[in-house]
Amino acid sequence: MQKRFLSIWFRHLRTDWFTRRQPDLANTAFILAAPDHGRMIITAANYVAQKQGVEMGMAVADARAIIPSLQVLNDDAELAGKALKGLAAWLIRYTPAVSIDLPSGLILDITGCAHLWGGEKQYLADIQKRLKDFGYDIRIAIADTIGCAWAIARFGKEVSIIESSDQTTALLPLPPAALRLEAETVERLEKLGLRQVKNFISIPRSSLRRRFGPQILLRLDQALGHGEEWIDPVLPIEPYQERLPCLEPIVTATGIEIALQRLLDTLCHRLQQEQKGLRVACFKCYRIDGKMEKMEIGTNRPSCNIKHLFKLFQIKIDTIEPALGIELFTLDASKVENLSAAQEKLWQHNTGLDNIDLSELLDRIAGKIGANNIHRYVPDEHYWPERSFKMASSINEKLQTSWKLDMPRPLQILFKPELIEVTAPIPDYPPMLFRYKGKLHKIIKADGPERIEQEWWLQQGQHRDYYHVEDEEGRRYWLFRSGHYDTPKSYQWFIHGFFA
């Protein structure tokens, strides 16, 4: 069967993309700019701006001189690829093989597809209309070869369907740039006066190769259909979703469990084959009265362990209310990550934080009572006791600094220091007596003071002078005086912790 290709050229891909998202930009002149050697250079200008003389490659300052009301947006180098990828995925409705043709085009292999729309004319018109409705300024061509379709879309006349084996005639009047040659070759051809394909198409191949390199021959062959060319179709990512419709409505917990097990089996099998593990999964139950019940789980690290995931869901199964019955179950993994299969050791029992049993345990606990109740702490660079440690963001977070051991710290701490009555000799001797919760403690031994200043960039207030004291019964406390001994008596004594 004769191959047919369709080439789409988006004339203002990036600006149209912005206009589509911000419709009020449609009638204003705007440009996209990116920094280059310390200047802002225009990388794309919309139709309105181009009409007034703003070109690509100009400095933004120059363009502002031409159009004072010019809007400047930041360009993103990956924008074109992203936009084309989305469009390619959308165009899969027309043909299964759509490929991206950077910087601003798409190529569709439409072999055997056009008759479904009643012929190539209708097919092309349909694509053209729908993309135009989206707001894209496009040109389309259909031809036997990728090269020819590409050339006609960009350099051809309005007739954009090239009948089968007509590509040679269609290409003859086109400029050499239509052959997708390097800029250097195009320039050399222009210099020699070879301004159209027909000027050099009949030159012997050996001379062309000698003068312009092998690329020109390859491109000619590809455009004329003598050489092979392939496209690299976009493969849309199939969502990690499984469905299970039921013949009879399900009302029992056992039934839900069976459905869940089945869905997990198929989903995890697929994940395992692709070496992936899910982080977030959602199990949805569609009831016959039109309502939807769902439960969601999350895991600490990617997992495709059916038993573990089942257990996580099982904790929540009683939250599902089947009412009159559930007719459809779906399970989708909304967050999937690569799973590096770890080597399992047979004898050595690893009991560190990277143990899989442990992370599965934490998933179960988090599933039942909430992840915000689970904490792990890492040291922080602060002397102020309350700030000397911070919550770790994940179970695998590495330590940035080490735990300090230089000064004694109490094993039990009061969340908020409590006010105590103290008898202490000045200037900075440790207290002799203190009263805490109505009990008098006589201090026998003491260490200190250890002065900890406020971190003024975080918090204002008095410094603390800490004392490590032991009373006559051998109980050890951590006391502090906040502030200096001064006449207005602004200092206060607190108890902050209990040593082991």
Binding site: W347, H349, N350, T351, G352, L353, N355, I356, D357, L358, E360, L361, L362, R364, I365, K368, I369, N373, I374, H375, R376, Y377, V378, P379, P385, S388, F389, A392, I395, L399, W403, K404, L405, P408, R409, P410, L411, Q412, I413, L414, F415, Y429, P430, K442, I444, K445, A446, D447, H468, V469, E470, E472, E473, G474, R475, R476, G497, F498, F499, A500
Partner: protein, 243 residues
């Protein structure tokens, strides 16, 4: 005849031990943090791993002392790499302080729950997890049934469980293998130096299954326990050393 009878009895005693929860597995770690004579209180003269230990604490000072003793034991169970879960209702532990008892505080996962029932559920789940070194649970009351559930959980996984009971209403019978009470003692520094010395406790082993209960004076210094032979009876006024 008597010799064979004694042999039979000794053999039977050895057979009974695993049934009562004292299991020795091939690659289980042997806790030696300088417990010394305390170990003779246990059957086989080893600190039981894969069992539940119960600690009674009266006040917050006792809780701190108990925490210190437990941390000292856990630090040798956790070696070289291990993880511990600490489950409590109103947590007052200051994580950086655990470092001085030889535990890396980042290796401990704290789980803060409100209800006692949730704590016991989480503790049972954690004790079933083979990837842990130890589990610490702070509860006030522990019924016999719950303690037996916990004990059954550890017998499978060989995780060591520590239950810290602060101000329990009743000291009921539990299935825990031991019951301890740790109280702080006055510290002492060598050569009459001023200041507070190493943490020192009176460790009372109130109950131990198939062992001999007792009471010892321990000090935690340089990463291990040290026995204190005698506490000198010095009058308070002479003992007074501040500085």
């Amino acid at each position: 005849m008597t010799a064979t009878k004694a042999d039979i009895i000794a053999q039977l005693k050895r057979d009974i031990l695993p049934l009562q929860g004292f299991k020795t597995t091939l690659n289980s770690t042997v806790v030696d943090a300088g417990l010394g004579p305390i170990k003779n209180a246990f059957p086989n003269s080893t600190f039981p791993i894969g069992a539940i230990h119960e600690f009674i604490a009266a006040g917050v000072e006792d809780t701190a002392a108990t925490g210190g003793f437990v941390a000292g034991i856990i630090s040798s169970i956790m070696k070289p790499a291990g993880a511990t879960i600490w489950i409590s209702a109103s947590r007052t532990v200051f994580p950086p302080a655990l470092k001085s008892f030889g535990i890396a505080p980042d290796k401990i996962i704290f789980i803060d729950l409100k209800k006692e029932k949730e704590i016991l559920w989480a503790m049972e789940e954690a004790l079933k997890c083979k990837g842990l070194s130890a589990v610490i649970g702070e509860v006030q009351e522990l019924s016999f049934t719950t303690s037996r559930r916990l004990q059954l959980a550890v017998e499978q996984s060989q995780v060591t469980g520590f239950i810290l009971r602060r101000n329990p209403c009743s000291l009921n019978t539990t299935a825990c293998i031991t019951r301890w009470k740790i109280t702080p003692l006055s510290s002492e520094l060598a050569d009459d130096m001023p200041g507070v010395g190493f943490p020192r406790w009176n460790v009372a082993l109130l109950k131990v299954r198939n062992g001999k209960p007792g009471s010892w004076q321990l000090e935690f210094a340089a990463g291990r326990f040290r026995h204190v032979s005698k506490i000198a009876a010095i009058p308070l006024e002479q003992k007074k050393k501040t500085g």
